[in-house]
Assembly symmetry: D2
Homo-oligomer: 352 residues x 4
């Protein structure tokens, strides 16, 4: 392992951008955050206080031009993920791009194409979509044990992303640009589904049904606040997904992989920590209140491993093509939940 | 409460028949088992030893004719459930019929019609299908708390019936007459779904996908060993079902009712008893190995409450019509899992 | 198995007496409750309504004299346990006596002596103290697995009986005659300790400390509402006990047997049933509110097995001598918790 | 918060020293590890590879003399903890000293005295003993909730430190200098006991019993491999401790604080991560295999907070005097477990 540190720029300092900045800046010993960009005044003020020694830009392009970067973390709003990623790719920079690459499959695919072209010039370049759950110690152990064949072949994958209820109207506003609950929320479960059942496995059919139970305003954006989907793969594998914006107790992101000779459950007894209270209400544990509370460690590992693959020229932990496939499936499910139609692929479309 | 005891006849002394016989004979203080019938020699021998003072018949019709019965428990093979129930109904006897009434909706509906006719003559007659899970203390508490509105309106119902893997070939043989995994296995989940989401609620659509993962022989009977379904109801409610014949650890029958302000989970930490082992494998609890190991108490309660409704002339705990609706849904799911088609109801068909 | 039923009389129809009466009367197919006695008017009224066909006496001696009994269940107040047991023993009746035999070791021992004498005349007579937890399916499985040596030799036994807080003053009143928290409450844990570590194992030392945290009135009766004890056995085995009258969530009776190669935990995730609630408080399960709610099944099994040992002339499931030893240990702990002294046995006293 | 970083030297690079070095070097953004010392060649080689830019010494005194230090982390063998801490204190350096300060109470107290003297010269100096469990998020939440009085006054504190069985003979060798299981292993539980029940609370009595169940060789060092203790405090509070070197499944460090109106349980469902396996053995989770696997995060927090108190001149998170009290209690328990005597304090000795 060399002594060189990876020079990183952070694009966007919103909720996730701040976290990436801190993680790369303070907790990733092999990386140096040298620059950050955001059009937002408050975010730049935050950076001035919290990212000492880091050059702050109000413009992404200017950062790319002036800062001495080897890698960029794209943590801006979803709408510019692809555009910013493409610009960095063209400059030969390593890119860690927040999920989803885009809510549009073609745009997402264009990032892959650009990366493939770029690799001819910069063969050591790494571009990766930030599917944080793949870096969670529990999901990793589950995947490793299933891959080893400890429980036989995987047959049924069940997963959910279920957010704490937010009565502020945030989700309704957010739905206008999020691409829909299957693209925004279930994208993690879709990514895990591909990881556990096979990224190259052909999909035969999928369908979804959903409702607006607590956020009727979502209808206007063709979105739902609770939805369930089934996906049927070639080779005798099936999956069921649930997504929700209505949880009362906290973030409940759970997965189950049922194999021929056993099953593996991740997060099914979701808990904030190791404390249990016994009082007049019974025995009680608390839950994480949001995604980051549960998966903070995974983000730190992600920062560490992305840095390592750049510095050591090893393959990125997640294939970029599979991230496009995840968007493609998310979009198809979103179409299905709105149209009510089951979608058959006949070996076309969502294949590789 | 009177001192009179209900005189009961048991039809069929197979696995379930034996259990019903013992439960009514020994553990239901207000009932007397006075007769039992079975065409099987071994079963009659068992009865001679275990059902003291009970008249044993090799023919159901003869039992109906000669024994002094007030009620019949139909626990024969599924194929004769409806026929035996109909005969008892016509004689004005109370009937507790094992599920399903029939694997054919029309036949099942004919039992309801016969009962409705018979009520004109025997207004105190009780006929009920034995959906044992409704008598389980945990399911009951869940239902009561949801009904009270403690967690707001129910939005999503998820449930599964998952049997221990049996490598003997039993399931393949059994599938020839079982009506399929959704009629045989998921019928409990369907019944619970109706109980929790509303027995009169109209279904908009349903669909299922499934595989033969460990019992390829099921293909020949148009059956599957793992399958998942989604059901969409009018009024903003959705459901997901999973059924399996492949569990490694034991019987895993779990349900989850996700409401607007909270959720209720039944059996999600399924366990045989209150013991946990810590050894070199980690911390471990064992699971019930079959349905009866988990639900024995529910069957005893069922016997007790069926007896009580007969003696006290109170309404049966489960409406017979809803049991037909369960068969109807099970059949539709079975059609869908085979054809691959999503089925839309447009307000027709599965309504009442 | 013969067809004969055991003719049982119930002495005392208080809280526990009623339960024994119902269990023997309605749920024990091989027993007939033919008589019951209680000096209490209300209890006799209850019996008239609930124990049909049973002869009711207001005097125990009269019941012994006039009723046609084979066995007696002594469920009266603790003060008369021994006296009533002795009378029944002298008549050659089988006796199931509620715990403790007596709060006085000599009195308790006198019952054993009387039984030993009586056996010379009635060699098939059964006398047993009702330690219900030994009949609980979970404790039994734990014991069986430990006995089999599955986890190596048992080293440390930890157990507690912890009652729901009762603000009515009941415990203070009750303490005047209960013999103290170690004789009344921990007696179950002491019995289990002997069962798991060896009924004949010599005790080297024991000591206890305790407090009156929520029931200061207990001081006057030389009692405590929370206390902890350690017991040291010959042969390298130790035990720790906790007893409490102050639990907020419910009855928390737990045990742990730590062996050389593993440990067995009983009831450590104590729960009322299989339901879990998720709401704004987190994820929550409820606890049994009292001893009987958790151990009802064990009492039914106890009734069944006591009946069986009487009818089939098999050894009683629990040795009467060990029940005296339990009282002896309980008394010593109660002395220690009050005096503050550690008690050493030097191979004397608590031996057999 | 200033931009200045704390210059830290690490004394000792054994198992714990390596961890402290990495945590301060890579994961504590406000600290710089500038030097490390160890007499061990292999450890210095490890440092050369893993602590880039850090000056490595083979002699502690030399490090103190030559390196430009503001703080020292003492992670050497227990025997030199006090000596090394004293030297650093005299130089006015901040000190984070691994537990225990010493296995001898007088020596431990001499560190406190030296620190008190030194404060007159260096009023901003911080000296703290590294009781890592106080930095664990779960223990912290438990403490905060109890301190707030959410469950009323604490009455009973129960805690254990139980190590995975090690058949290599390590514990026997280690016992020769460890001070005994109560000083080495239970010292954490004792520290937590003081934290939860009151650091200034007077102890009335304590006693312990123990056995050599799997490591008979411990007898020779007057040590035990399983032991239980009770401690009685003034003011109506009691505690029970268990320590073990014999766990089959992993590290089982659990605590329970039972208060008047509720209880808080930490780690009682000890688990390595969020994964559960269901297979033919039942439902199973794995346990952490050693202390650091469970408490790594706490060590990182400890490094962060020790650094912060030095840089920001805030009080150290743990009082040094309480760490001496912990040693004092540990020693008394060790005496008791060997002598078999209960120790009474009559308001003397273990008071402050």
């Amino acid at each position: 392992m060399g002594t060189q540190k990876l020079c990183v720029g952070i694009a966007g300092l919103g909720r996730m951008g701040k976290r990436h900045a801190i993680n790369f800046h303070e907790l990733t010993s092999r990386a140096n955050v040298v620059a950050a960009s955001t059009p937002d005044n408050n975010e730049r003020e935050w950076a001035a206080e919290n990212l000492q020694g880091v050059q702050i830009f109000d413009d992404y392009d200017e950062m790319l031009e002036k800062a001495d970067l080897e890698a960029v973390v794209v943590a801006s709003v979803t709408a510019v993920h692809a555009e910013q990623a493409l610009k960095a790719i063209k400059k030969g920079l390593h890119v860690l791009c927040e999920k989803p690459l885009s809510i549009d499959v073609e745009v997402a695919q264009s990032v892959v194409s650009a990366y493939e072209e770029s690799l001819k010039i910069y063969p050591q370049q790494k571009v990766m979509c930030a599917f944080s759950r793949r870096f969670d110690a529990s999901y990793r152990e589950a995947h490793e044990r299933v891959e080893k064949g400890e429980f036989g072949s995987a047959v049924f994958f069940r997963s959910q992303t279920a957010d704490l209820h937010d009565s502020s109207g945030f989700f309704v506003e957010y739905a206008k640009t999020s691409g829909g609950i299957f693209v925004d929320c279930s994208i993690h479960d879709i990514d895990l589904m591909l990881w556990f059942l096979g990224e190259n496995r052909t999909i035969k059919s999928l369908q979804a049904v959903g409702v607006c139970a607590v956020h009727p305003g979502l209808e206007a954006s063709n979105d739902r606040d609770n939805a369930i989907a089934t996906v049927e793969f070639e080779g005798g594998k099936i999956a069921a997904l649930y997504c929700s914006r209505m949880m009362a107790a906290g973030q409940e992101d759970t997965s189950e992989i049922i194999c021929e000779k056993g099953s593996v459950r991740v997060n099914m007894q979701v808990r904030k920590n190791h404390v249990e209270f016994h009082d007049s209400q019974g025995a009680r544990r608390e839950l994480p209140q949001h995604y980051y509370e549960r998966f903070r460690e995974a983000f730190i590992t992600e920062a560490y491993e992305f840095t390592a693959c750049c510095l050591d020229n090893t393959p990125p932990p997640i294939s970029l093509q599979s991230s496009v496939k995840a968007v493609c499936i998310g979009q198809a499910l979103q179409r299905s939940v709105i149209s009510g139609e089951k979608i058959y692929f006949d070996g076309r479309a969502i294949k590789n």
